[in-house]
Amino acid sequence: AAELARSCLWLGDDALIMSHRLQEWVAAAPELEDEVALANIGLDLLGQARLLLARAAKADPALVPAVNQSDEDALAFFRAAEDFHNVRLVELAGGDFAFSMARLLVFSTWRLALFQRLVDSPDQVLTAIAAKGVKELTYHRDYAARWVVRLGDGTDLSHERMQAGLDEVWPYVDELFDGENEDDKALREEFDAVMAQVITAGALKQPYLRPVPTAGRHTEHLEPLLAEMQSVARAHPDATW
């Protein structure tokens, strides 16, 4: 159960923080179609986060901060940065549309491969979450891939920015694949194959940038994100909404 809780918490945190970064595009996207799509993807990930955090809390109630809130809200709004387990990729702040599409492509390709394996999880709740997620993530990946290709093979300016976005994201890729067994290797191969295909279609160059070393669990970007996300909830710890 502790193992299950841990997996759900990690996957839930990734989705929650990634969703936040997509929420930041609201009223700032290049076209209305992208407003709709980015909000949609943000909503899907928020939905995944809610189910996963609730599952984690149920599997290991000790994870949940002792506040007068639902499990999902206690976990989202009353944990400190050092207790979040998301990958650094989703924390990175700022960045233009090209960076965001590169990150979304990497994130959803990786997560889709993970979820495809979770469909066979022994936990039925997780299985159901994964099955729903696979459909969502397939759409997310395709949306991001379409933009990476269009920007890569669009104008000179967009090509340059798309390559820069990809280069900015790349040093955070290795961290996603820290396992050593056969299946972990297969996961990475799947990921690399999808990336190579999109990169080629977009007339882009495969980045060969070294991973950014860790120094603590997170980057400097997570604490300000949480300060914002948690501000209202923490100002009213006894409120219900």
């Binding site: 290049p30 209305l32 928020l46 955090l53 809200d73 909404w241």
Partner: protein, 308 residues
Amino acid sequence: MNLQEHFDATIERDQRIEPRDWMPEGYRKTMIRQVAQHAHSEIIGMQPEGDWITRAPSLRRKAILLAKVQDEAGHGLYLYSAAETLGADRTDLTERLIEGRQKYSSIFNYPTLTFADVGVIGWLVDGAAICNQVPLCRSSYGPYARAMIRICKEESFHQRQGYELLMTMMSGTQEQRDMVQDATNRWWWPSLMMFGPPDAESTNTAQSMAWKIKRHTNDELRQRFVDMSVPQAEKLGVTLPDPDLRWNPERGHYDFGQIDWDHFKEVVSGNGPCNKIRIERRRKAHEDGQWVRDAAAAYAAKHKEAVA
């Protein structure tokens, strides 16, 4: 029967004008303006609430709010499409908006100061919008009427969600109740102004009524909204900030106080609390996105050539 007569007869029979039908230039222009202003309002309206998505105090409310703001972007999309059936161009309309040559609903020029504002916008602002928009589902212009049917359905859903948030907050802490009352105080009068100037001063109403692109006067709709909102406020337990508000059994309606039309004119003419910030933000998004739209166009052009 000539074109004009055919058009008049269609209107007369309460049938719809469709994009391929002939229509008088005045009708076309008026419709474009009406639809574009409505589209702009949806898009600008994303900002005041959208700002609270990242700060929403529960994940459920965050999801509801994000979905609502997404719906607004979707409404903007249908409406710009409806305007395009009249020969307008989306980019051109956006430029008219950010250059101040076309307006949007003044209600979005007020600030959202606490999370209660999200609820009150749902309750009052969406409520007023629905009063305005339900009759537009019978607009004589077909694409607009059809867009409005879909939009109204979603808006009433938003309104219920906003009201439900307020009900929850009113049964919460004293601070939450204070937030709801404060937000109600700030949004009530601006919501009444959403119906436009009093009939006596409204210039466009007569022609629009004749063309059946408007079906009730501003004052009729405003009264309907007040009559609907008073019992909702009572149920909620908030006080509407109008000492003159009381039931008039003779009229069978609620009487209400004098609206500050000078203030309304100030806000409409660009000098509201947030006019500048809203337009600037829209302009920035539009300009920041130019290189992306250019890239999409360049890619599409290349791809077409390759195919041909």
